[in-house]
């Protein structure tokens, strides 16, 4: 780990003074430092192990978050914000005796305005709890990551999270109107706003997806989305993965943007079927789960187009969920697919890249070949509609040397995705996991521009340092290069 950075005071030898100040600012029972517990907070849901934090704080208000940040700065410690810890890219993994700010006790829905369609929530509100609370009012929160039963809205903001239904409704950024933020210097402000065009630069847009490196969100105004009057969920199965992938492109080319198009290959379909019994055909090469929603006329028209296009691409069967119960069962298989993997091997490494839809077949073929070369099992369950791949490399971590093979295969998957014009991450973020891959996607100038943006919010590198950008991203001097040159 490269820990060279500018502007922070050197780390002190003892944590006791720091802990005492934090305990006095919050309450001692909401500042934890038991070694066993610190070890748990040294990691998130990725495979990356950090260092134990000096203290884990559970603030209940903006003012308490502010105190945590100010005390950390005074002690020269980094601040690492954490929601539910479901992140897969190491975005909430601490280093350097950090002060962790865990938002789980800031879990209130503060207000809901159904007329103007927004809600103010605290960052620790669980994604699915918010939608459940909004449901009787006729609304929901559109981003629906697979971890929505446990991930927090604050974490969704940090990672600009997606989910199956983001195909039609957009990722988290499209659903965040304003964020109250404690900046890395301890100041508090609101980025964005409820009005149409809050003045100045779109700092709200910059903050969403900044993975805790621009400060800590303490209140969030989210857009709430009306529940669709009609929904049709279809399951279609193919005997060839290429047919399923071609059907995805053809559905979009036919002018239909479904609410969701999910693909599962044969291995994950079998595992999920054995796990939940959703009625998935276990002999198919791939299945597509397609959902269209909206007003009844459009739903009927689009369901017809989707079914026709699927048959044109050799779908063996097209099953339409007859009722809400069947629909829920079809989705349950998809949403619990990752859990089903445990039936095959005890561990998995979940990747996240995006490729153009037209490259899906080629990249999937490559991914199977990469896994074969490294003697690994790969399963694919992903958001096919927006080309967002999620190859799961499944393995047994007790096998010697296995992690090296898993990482080598992962790097090859990233490289092939970029080669066809794709990107590093569709919804998990960069964190520590893909930091060193950033230069594969961005030029030095583009990394420099991103480093400048980071510097605007956090000139001293206090907030979740060393995430997203590789070290040395800020260019010193380009004056010796000729004008207009590509660098």
């Amino acid at each position: 780990m490269d820990t060279v950075r500018v502007g922070r005071a050197p780390v002190e030898d003892s944590d006791s003074g720091l802990r005492a100040e934090l305990g006095a600012a919050l309450r001692p029972e909401r500042v934890h430092h038991d070694p066993l517990e610190m070890a748990l907070y040294g990691r998130d849901s990725s495979t990356i192990r950090g260092e134990d934090p000096a203290a884990v704080c559970f603030p209940v208000s903006t003012e308490e978050v502010r105190s945590c940040v100010r005390i950390a700065v005074a002690h020269g410690r980094p601040v690492v914000a954490r929601g539910s810890g479901t992140g897969l890219a190491g975005g909430a993994v601490p280093f350097d005796r950090a002060v962790m700010i865990v938002t789980t006790k800031m879990n209130r829905v503060l207000s809901v305005d159904t007329t103007n369609r927004y809600a103010w929530v605290e960052p620790g509100v669980i994604n699915l709890d918010l939608s459940r609370q909004l449901h009787p009012l006729g609304f929901h929160f559109a981003p629906d990551p697979s971890s929505q039963q446990s991930c927090s809205v604050g974490g969704n903001v940090a990672n600009n999270s997606g989910g199956p239904h983001c195909l039609a409704y957009g990722v988290t950024s499209a659903h965040v109107l304003a964020v109250e933020v404690v900046l890395p210097d301890g100041e508090v402000t609101i980025l964005g706003g409820l009005d149409a065009d809050p003045g100045g630069y779109d700092l709200r847009g910059a903050f969403v997806g900044s993975e805790g490196t621009f400060g800590v969100a303490t209140r969030i105004a989210v857009r709430i989305t009306p529940n669709p009057p009609a929904v049709s969920t279809m399951l279609m199965d193919f005997m060839d993965v290429a047919d399923a992938a071609a059907a995805v492109s053809a559905i979009i080319a036919a002018g239909v943007v479904p609410a969701a198009i999910e693909m599962m290959d044969s291995r994950i379909t079998k595992a999920a079927e054995e796990f939940v019994g959703a009625g998935y055909p276990t002999d198919a090469a791939a299945i597509l789960l397609v959902e269209v929603d909206g007003l009844p006329g459009g739903v009927a028209a689009e369901a017809d187009i989707v079914a026709r296009v699927a048959r044109e691409h050799h779908a063996r069967t097209v099953r339409v969920a007859a009722d809400e119960q069947e629909r829920a069962l079809l989705w349950k298989g998809r949403k619990t697919a990752f859990g089903a993997v445990a039936r095959v091997k005890p561990n998995y490494y979940l990747h996240d890249t995006v490729v153009p839809r037209s490259s899906l077949t080629r990249v999937l073929t490559e991914i199977y070949a990469i896994a074969d070369r490294h003697d690994l099992i790969v399963m694919n369950v992903f958001h096919a509609g927006d080309g967002n791949l999620h190859p799961l490399l499944v393995f047994d971590a007790r096998e010697p040397g296995i992690m090296d093979r898993v990482h080598a295969a992962g790097e090859e998957i990233v490289r092939i995705s970029l080669e066809v014009g794709g990107v590093l991450s569709g919804e998990h973020g960069i964190g520590l996991e893909k930091r060193e891959f950033m230069s594969l996607m961005f030029s030095e100038m583009a990394l420099d521009a991103q480093a400048r943006l980071c510097e605007v919010f956090d000139p001293d590198g206090t907030a979740n340092p060393d995430k997203i950008l590789p070290s040395g991203s800020r260019c010193a001097d380009f004056d010796n290069l000729p004008d207009g040159v590509w660098v």
Binding site: C166, G200, F442, C454
Partner: protein, 352 residues
């Protein structure tokens, strides 16, 4: 994108970078249709124009690559041939780059979303004269910091847009406008997903778009409320105000107005009153501009509405400038937004 197209695009961008250069004040010119937004540019600034032309468009990817100097009309014509559109509108003659730089959404923002959502990848020329590509070409992407959001509405003060990749969307099967008296918020609540609900204090206008069957069913709701089919939206007064949607009723706009219900944009006869900016935000805004343009050479004099220009922030990391002090523009207080030229009928709803 084919290798030949990529090469042509790279050459055009490198030439644009040469025109922007590395020294002296410079301003980027699009269609000059909203030139007054953000206040007058220092007259010493050199004019430069970005490249033009629509690049790769793959309907099945629902993305289009386009040079920033292309008019919005030309872009819409190209993607329209495949039954798609870009959620972007502007006065006749406005360019893609200019529209993104100004950041104004169209009248269909309620249903189609804000302009900022369409920008996936941006290639701009930096204050140092470099070609910088940010964002990514796919419809979904969270790789690195989201500089595209910062560029939309930044009035060329962060960099000059050269080429962009934008999201396209299928055109609706049908669309239409309805108008009549009636409480706009109640009318909106009875519809699932109207594209636009406008209100001038007495009359409500509604735009519906989608499948025939749905538009027909929803328009029946409107007709029961006494609304009738009309040609289009009302003529818009020239000034834009930005409010929270909850603040629209009972507000004095000093004359005729047309409010976008559920959005908060108000088109009024008078300029919007000055709103004091939060001190912390002001510091961030100033630091942002100074970090990306340390010598103040990009669009000097022009300020993003809502940013108090003031003196450069002393606490920001001002890097050493290679510019002589005299070429630095004086900070200029922004003028309130001037009337946008009222255009004859054309494709964009904002141009009515």
């Amino acid at each position: 994108m084919s290798a030949a197209t990529t090469a042509r695009s790279d050459v055009a961008l490198a030439r644009f970078a040469e025109r922007v250069g590395v020294h002296g004040p410079v301003t980027v010119v699009g269609g000059r249709t909203r030139w007054e937004v953000g206040g007058p540019v220092d007259p010493r600034a050199r004019d430069v124009s970005p490249p033009t032309g629509v690049g790769e468009f793959i309907p099945a990817e629902m993305t289009v690559r386009v040079n920033a100097g292309t008019t919005v009309a030309e872009l819409q014509a190209v993607v329209g041939e495949a039954g798609q559109r870009v959620v972007m509108a502007g006065p006749a003659g406005s360019t893609v780059g200019g529209t993104l730089a100004v950041g104004h959404s169209g009248l269909d923002r309620l249903g189609a979303g804000p302009l900022r959502e369409v920008l996936l990848e941006a290639t701009y020329i930096s204050a140092e004269g470099r070609v910088v590509r940010v964002g990514g070409p796919t419809v979904k992407n969270v790789s690195g910091y989201d500089l595209c959001r910062v560029l939309v509405g930044s009035l060329g003060t962060i960099g000059f847009l050269g080429e962009v990749i934008m999201r396209t969307t299928p055109q609706p099967e049908t669309s239409g406008w309805w108008s009549g008296s009636g409480e706009p918020t109640e009318i909106r609540a009875r519809l699932h997903w109207p594209m636009s609900v406008l209100w001038d204090g007495t009359t409500t206008w509604v735009q519906l778009a989608g499948y025939e069957a749905d538009v027909s069913a929803e328009s029946a709701i409107l007709e029961r409320e006494g609304l009738r089919s009309v040609k289009g939206p009302p003529t818009l007064p020239p000034h834009r105000w930005s409010l929270a949607p909850s603040e629209l009723t009972g507000h004095d706009f000093g004359g005729r107005f047309v409010a976008e219900i559920g959005v908060g944009t108000v088109h009024a006869e008078r300029p919007a009153p000055h709103r004091p900016a939060d001190a912390v935000l002001t510091r961030l805004h100033r630091r942002l501009r100074a970090t990306f343009d340390p010598t103040g050479r990009l669009n000097p004099g022009r300020t993003v509405p809502g940013v108090d220009p003031g003196e450069p922030d002393a606490s920001s990391d001002q890097r050493q400038s290679s510019e002589p002090e005299s070429t630095r523009p004086e900070p200029t207080r922004p003028e309130p937004t001037q009337p946008e030229p009222t255009q004859p009928e054309s494709r964009g709803p904002e141009s009515s």
